[in-house]
Subunit: 374 residues, 2 copies
């Protein structure tokens, strides 16, 4: 048994989390995972991170690098090692075979196929196991994967761009570029980390929006940009009445999914263009957004970014489907006749939704607000 | 001559600025000034700050404390020492008589009665003079005094409380307590540092507002609270048509000034209650706000705080009279039918006023935004 100081455990786990974060744009539908292997003398002998689904897990990369020096070492992993045969063999077995003496995991795997069985397997093999080091940070890194495993729904971020007085556009609809280049780069990174980007017919029609990731605008290093380019998020258009023509820039930018109320017979046209039509009627002329999210989760979506106008974003909000608001606030006033942040009429203060503003930080001349419903 | 390192100059001036700040609530209409006297061996031998108008200036307090040890010392003052006989004798003379070898001033006095003559007097007496150490900080501490001296107008802050979606109240007018206790304490400190607090008839009628300083809510130490209690800001009500009855809580809370369009014959009633009626018609049924500010500056007002509803605050904004917004943002959504931040209809984005958001900081569960028009 090793006598590692908790401070050392935290430092090594922090390093493993930094490695895991390199998979931010690419591991979908898998979680981001990092691994650090530390020999008994404190030397780091192996490091690894999961790059993309179907390729080796973080532990495998790290064990390969460590080779024989893994024997008697401590392995730090940001997520409980898997115990099941998926597209790759179970990592718990690999750690046992390599002869590590101790495994420190940040958190148990919320995947019901694992759910503690990976740690059990390690303990059964006589390996010392610690779980829960930097757990909050590890959960935050995979907030979408955790929610999907626990609730069968993705983690939904709603991105909004507003003026200091809470307006998204002039009454006329005039709106583009209210935020600056750094804020737009931050939005690009939000898109790139998401499994799915959802938009609405208004946004696609009025702003000619494509909702694509443009790797050269991410403001990340070349490796990260390449990973983002290789794994673009699925673009989903909520278009109940199929108002957006297939000639729109949104459709010309690549294959997309369209959530609608009914297939009016044009399904084959969408299919011919490489798109998928998904009828999800709610019976009131609107798309069933909760069902849409459940379908997306079933297809592996961890994090969903909603980039839409006040109407669709307001619908997600009113239906209680928002986990997090990312509001980019521009330093200007659009005035009292401009469009609201969300279409959400409320009569009394007792109905006013309370939020927890987690963070406000400068992004160029704009400010990014992270808020969650409470 | 002394060989002070610039770093030492800055450290001593920073100390003098901290002393000056103790007069934040009490020096009106004078500027806040601090003074530190440092002997040749580096020992601080005297400290002082200006407490209130009519009482000794900072330099006099510091020289008294230093006594004979002021001879050959360096005096750090946050504002150029005065050269004129006001209610107290000129400080430049006092420094010469005390035999200081060097004077470091943060900034020249913007008062046209001084304007460099204090420093000239010192140089003429053979004293080494440095001016401009931590000048930006010194100007910020007396932003209102500087503006009044340079432009004949006070520095106007507009305090607003809004939800995350930029709304100040429900459509019904329901609004009180949208921000928490720490934000309210911050507003109390903004009132206490101001020469004048301006409000409007809507606010006073609907919210039953008194706009007083409540020293026990300032969340400052006992000395500061006592200074604030002894020098309350003048409360000014903009009430063009004299809609607010003299029985309102606002008038019962103490003497006030009322800016109106005309004295309808009730001037004597106001006067009997200890209030002053000031007719400032602009000819369109509204009070001339620019003229009001000029009148207040002529009476010595340095900093003015506008605490009003969207209509009056919007009028100050539309007329270009706002130097700084202090927006307290509560973590909630009031929805798309709630009242706007400012009544300021704009048709095109090209008309949208640009701001510089200087600072956003957490105040309890709320956030304070400091923004200035650019």
């Amino acid at each position: 048994m090793h006598d590692s100081l908790p401070a050392c455990d935290q430092a090594h786990m922090a390093r493993a989390l930094r490695l895991a974060r390199r998979g931010l744009f690419s591991t979908h539908p898998n979680p981001r995972v990092g691994c650090v292997i530390v020999a008994a003398d404190g030397e780091i002998v192996g490091e690894g991170w999961h790059v993309r689904a179907g390729e080796p897990h973080a532990e495998v990369h790290a064990l390969r690098q460590a080779g024989a020096r893994a024997r008697g070492a401590t392995a730090y992993v940001t997520l409980e090692p898997c115990s099941h045969h998926g597209r790759t063999p179970p990592c718990a077995e690999a750690l046992v075979e390599a002869g590590v003496a101790r495994v420190v995991a940040a958190m148990q795997d919320p995947n019901p196929q694992v759910a503690g069985r990976g740690l059990q397997r390690l303990r059964a093999a006589g390996i010392a196991v610690t779980c829960g080091v930097l757990e909050a940070e590890a959960r935050a890194l995979n907030v979408g994967f955790v929610k999907r495993m626990e609730q069968g729904l993705p983690y939904v971020r709603v991105k909004l761009a507003m003026s200091l007085d809470g307006r998204t556009a002039m009454a006329s609809g005039e709106s583009q570029w209210i935020t600056g280049p750094q804020a737009r780069a931050a939005v690009q990174r939000l898109r790139a980390r998401s499994s799915v980007v959802i938009s609405g017919a208004d946004t696609v029609l009025c702003d000619n929006a494509r909702l694509t990731v443009r790797p050269d605008e991410l403001e990340v290093d070349a490796e990260q940009a390449a990973l983002a380019a290789a794994r673009p998020p699925l673009r989903v258009l909520v278009d109940g009445q199929l108002r957006v023509p297939l000639t729109a820039a949104f459709f010309r930018a690549g294959p997309a999914m369209v959530a609608c109320c009914e297939d009016d017979g044009r399904g084959a046209d969408y299919q011919a263009g490489g798109h998928v039509l998904l009828p999800l009627p709610r019976g009131d002329g609107h798309v069933d957004l909760r069902l849409l999210l459940a379908e997306l989760a079933a297809a592996g979506a961890n994090e969903v970014l909603v980039e839409a106008g006040p109407r669709l974003a307001g619908a997600f909000a009113r239906e209680g489907l928002v986990d997090e608001y990312r509001i980019f606030m521009a330093p200007q006033l659009l005035g009292s006749t401009a469009r609201p942040l969300l279409d959400w009429p409320l009569a009394q203060m007792s109905e006013a939704p309370q939020l927890d503003i987690r963070e406000i930080r400068a992004v160029g001349r704009d400010w990014q607000i992270v808020a969650r419903p409470v």
